[in-house]
């Protein structure tokens, strides 16, 4: 019984941690959307900023990956 409750907490916690992935998705969408908006305003400057775009996406995504990792740890490693 005690183990069951612990497992329940584990799975609920994993599910909650997975919300972070969705938040990261919002962040990545925000970065990409703003880049596109800027790129359409000034297409000639867009080509030079793709590296910045990917760095921004990578930073936004890293935190989502962290939460995904927390979920995985809760599921499989705790």
């Amino acid at each position: 019984m005690e183990g069951d409750i612990a497992q329940l907490g584990q799975f609920v916690g994993a599910g909650l941690a997975a919300i972070g992935s969705g938040a990261a998705a919002i962040g990545v969408g925000h970065v990409a959307g703003n880049f596109l908006a800027g790129a359409l305003r000034n297409p000639s400057a867009a080509a030079g900023q793709t590296a910045t775009l990917f760095i921004g996406i990578a930073f936004a995504e890293a935190l989502g990956i962290f939460s995904f990792l927390v979920a995985l740890l809760l599921m499989f490693a705790v």
Partner: protein, 266 residues
């Protein structure tokens, strides 16, 4: 009329799917089994045992060799297919290093090219079904990131001496804020290798686990397995993109960190 037919057919399919579903349709999904390290011969794993890690890393090395050495062996002025790809990869990374890290970063180009080629080849080889993805392991990516971290720190101190610490002292901020910013910068500097490594391993691991989960659904759904198979196709396409993007991101972040070491002015 056609709409009604469509719905009737859909209902029939649904019912038949339930009727003919496999008896033992339990969801036995083990998405993490694909990452297991196993010895090629025998059971014992010591530090030098040839394992599937060895096999797939050797294949990655062979792929790099085939692309960059065999591909360019004809030294043609008008390149063939393999040579074009090799030159494209060379030009891509060279330009990245030059643009991001600056002119004096170019002498680290072979090092960065090594990282990029290894990661991109390991990622793509890992997308072959039934294969083992070496870059999905935190041990591997942590070593890659730690190599970058140590290199960048050593280069920073060798190039700039104590001036490298100016990276943490934000001279454009108001004076009372600077110690706080210095602490934040210091923490962010030491978190770099963590995020650098977990980003790569996490992306690759997540994508492969999702593929495996959908594959488990496909096994359990009987006639409806076409739905997860469509999903697998879509996710696989995304994973091909991610395999390249993550290698690119790892490389460009290496360049960015290298730029910080070479030119620490904030």
């Amino acid at each position: 009329m056609g709409k009604i037919f469509f719905y009737v057919a859909l209902a029939l399919v649904l019912v038949s799917g339930l009727v003919f579903a496999p008896e033992k349709a339990e969801l036995a999904i083990h998405p993490m089994d694909q990452f297991r390290v196993s010895a090629l011969f025998g059971d014992n794993i010591s530090w030098y045992t040839p394992t599937n890690v060895t096999l797939w890393m050797a294949l990655a090395v062979a792929a790099v060799f085939a692309l960059l050495v065999l591909g360019s062996s004809r030294r043609a002025i008008v390149p063939g297919r393999a040579q074009s790809v090799a030159e494209l990869a060379y030009g891509f990374i060279y330009k990245m290093v030059e643009d991001v890290a600056g002119k004096d970063g170019v002498k680290f180009f072979p090092y960065i090219m090594t990282l990029f080629m290894f990661i991109v080849m390991a990622n793509f080889l890992g997308l072959i079904p039934m294969s083992f993805t070496t870059t999905s392991h935190i041990a591997v990516t942590a070593i890659l990131a730690a190599l970058v971290f140590v290199t960048v720190t050593v280069v920073g101190f060798v190039k700039n001496g104590v001036g490298f610490l100016g990276l943490f002292w934000v001279s454009s901020a108001p004076l009372p804020l600077r110690p706080i910013l210095a602490i934040i910068e210091l923490i962010s500097y030491f978190v770099r290798p963590v995020s650098h490594s977990i980003r790569l391993a996490g992306n690759v691991m997540a994508g492969h686990a999702v593929l495996k989960v959908f594959a488990g659904f496909a096994g359990a759904l009987g006639l409806f397995s076409f739905l997860p198979i469509f999903a697998i196709t879509a996710v696989y396409a995304l994973e091909v993109l991610v395999a390249f993007i993550q290698a690119y991101v790892f490389t460009i972040l290496t360049c960015v960190y290298l730029k910080d070491a070479l030119h620490p002015s904030h």
